[in-house]
């Protein structure tokens, strides 16, 4: 039998269509791997029947199973968003993104662990215990799509679906040594994706390489009648094949990158810039004058939207009800017991920022700073084709290392939040390994590339050329997934 472990998603699809492996063999192989999850990466795993329950079509990727972040509603399959308040919830419908994969003949391998309601940067906010990094199980896989990143990097799934609000695909992909793509806001339908911050949430792929990210995006993208903010990508997406970067300009926002970055991360970043130049690309310094304020603006806007979105969890229509005493205590006890500390923190922060008397000072001001950041990117893309940064200031940190102070944790998304506020697409590709400051094991470093809105094809072409030049070897991670 073909070596399925060594194959990417695209290569597995080719093995199936050439007859070298059957769809049954492929599914059984990955179900077996997923059932040996040693990373707490899955909150639910499928069997042969449930994996194919929604599959009702065929396409070029037919037969290659996908791991799905537990934030996507899946009909009749437990969906919790890693929250106690949705324990036992069986959605009556399936998210459009998952339905599109199913319509392409792709089964669902399982539902992956995450930070509760996608609020977190380490997976430690899951109500079901943190997922672990396959490169070092004493460290976090990143978040919030930490389970999706861990199962792909740890060889427990060929590829996975995640969501990104302020970095939740890119940061865990960087921490786990895989590729993570946050498409342009509006590229993929959000229907059936449990809402956190609706003006920022976007679905995207976590994969072993850039080609896989492109192929999943090709299947996922498109306008959807059920999400009026979805517009799709004009012209669609095809597999990238660029080898050179001639004529392309990459802007480096030096003013942003100076802050709190580890020496090893900076070294891999600078080496990658040299590789870009070797491939014919031009590196220039640029300014994103307001990007340093992105985290502050984000932690007003995202909690404000979250406080509104999460008001639906009240113990009435679905999910857990914690008390039957009287109506008010039912609401209060249900939300008190159902939500974890970070979710409560953000609901309170958001409610405060939207409250009468503080609305202009917080929410209104943050919305205007967001405009400034949107303008920063518009100006930058007038000069350059891409903006590049390290994906995160650090490599994967230790479990518990940043839980004491929320603001320290929030800094993990320093380089990813600006792109989210601007709504532009951004990808993280592995740029090599580095030790954390102060010593420790060699861990993956992510390199982030951002492009103008809906320029995903161009972004994927450049990423593909750079990925080939870097030649990252993720095999040490693949060894670390099984119990």
């Amino acid at each position: 039998m073909a070596d399925l472990m060594a194959a990417t998603g695209a290569q597995t699809a080719a093995l199936i269509s050439s007859g070298e492996a059957s769809a049954d063999e492929v599914l059984d192989f990955w179900l077996e791997r997923a059932s040996g999850d040693g990373l707490n990466g899955y909150l639910w795993t499928a069997d042969r029947e449930s994996a194919r329950a929604g599959v009702d079509g065929s396409g070029p990727l037919a037969g290659v199973p996908v791991a799905i972040k537990d934030i996507f509603c899946t009909e009749g399959v437990p969906t919790t968003a890693a929250s106690r308040i949705l324990e036992g919830y069986l959605p009556p419908y399936t998210a459009t993104a998952v339905a599109r994969l199913n319509a392409g003949g792709m089964p669902m391998l399982g539902k992956t662990n995450m930070d509760e309601f996608a609020m977190g940067s380490s997976n430690e906010n899951s109500a079901y215990g943190a997922s672990l990094n396959p490169w070092d199980r004493g460290r976090v896989p990143g978040g919030s799509s930490g389970g999706s990143a861990a199962v792909v990097a740890g060889g427990l799934a060929p590829w996975a679906l995640g969501t990104d609000t302020g970095g939740s695909i890119r940061q865990p992909a960087g921490f786990c040594g895989i590729v993570g793509l946050k498409p342009t806001y509006g590229a993929i339908s959000r229907f059936g994706m449990i809402a956190f911050a609706s003006s920022l949430d976007q679905c995207g792929p976590l994969t072993r390489d850039v080609t896989d990210a492109a192929l999943l995006l090709a299947t996922l993208q498109g306008r959807d009648q059920m999400d009026s903010t979805s517009v799709g990508i004009e012209g669609g997406i095809s597999a990238p094949g660029a080898e050179r970067l001639d004529g392309l300009t990459f802007g480096v926002p030096r003013g942003l990158i100076g802050q709190g970055i580890e020496a090893g991360v900076l070294a891999r970043f600078e080496e990658t810039l040299i590789k870009i130049a070797e491939l014919g690309g031009t590196i220039v310094d640029i300014e994103l004058p307001h990007a340093g304020h992105a985290i502050s603006a984000y932690y007003v806007l995202a909690p404000a939207e979250a406080s509104t979105n999460l008001s639906r969890y009240d113990g009435v229509r679905y999910g857990v009800r914690a008390s039957d005493e009287d109506l008010l205590s039912m609401y209060e006890v249900t939300r008190e017991e159902g939500f974890g500390p970070e979710v409560k923190r953000r609901i309170m922060l958001g409610t405060y920022a939207l409250s009468s008397g503080y609305y202009d000072a917080y929410y209104g001001r943050a919305q205007r700073v967001r405009t400034r950041i949107v303008e920063d990117f518009r100006n930058a893309f007038g000069q350059v084709d891409f903006v590049v940064t390290p994906t995160s200031p650090t490599v994967a940190f230790e479990l518990g290392e940043k839980t004491a102070d929320p603001w320290t944790m929030y800094q993990s998304d320093l380089f990813t939040v600006p792109m989210s506020l601007a709504g532009v697409p951004a990808i993280s590709i592995p740029a090599g390994l580095a030790q954390p400051d102060g010593g420790g094991p060699d861990l993956p470093v992510g390199f982030q590339i951002a492009a103008p809105a809906f320029a995903e094809q161009k972004l994927l072409e450049a990423s593909f050329a750079l990925e080939s030049a870097i030649g990252f070897d993720g095999s040490a991670g693949l060894e670390g997934g099984l119990r």
Binding site: S228, T229, H293, V316, D326, R345, A366, V369, R372
Partner: protein, 71 residues
């Protein structure tokens, strides 16, 4: 929790350094207006399905406890 929230708000207060004079707020980054679909009836969730996940469905409705505790 109160201390954490104060500390977060202290950081957020740095937004005051940004000049926002005359700047319009951004609530959404994709310029879309009046996205419409044909106004035609289409199937929706059956009542039974919609009620199937409720903690206390009763008689075709979502039942909740009384607004006042029984004395």
């Amino acid at each position: 929790m109160a201390g954490e929230l104060s500390s977060i708000l202290d950081h957020v207060d740095k937004l005051a350094e940004v000049d926002i004079e005359g700047v319009e707020p951004t609530s959404h980054v994709v310029p879309l207006e009046n996205v419409l679909r044909p106004d035609e009836p289409r199937p929706s969730l059956d009542r039974e399905v919609a009620l199937s996940q409720a903690p206390d469905p009763h008689d075709g409705a979502f039942r909740v406890p009384s607004p006042q505790a029984e004395s």
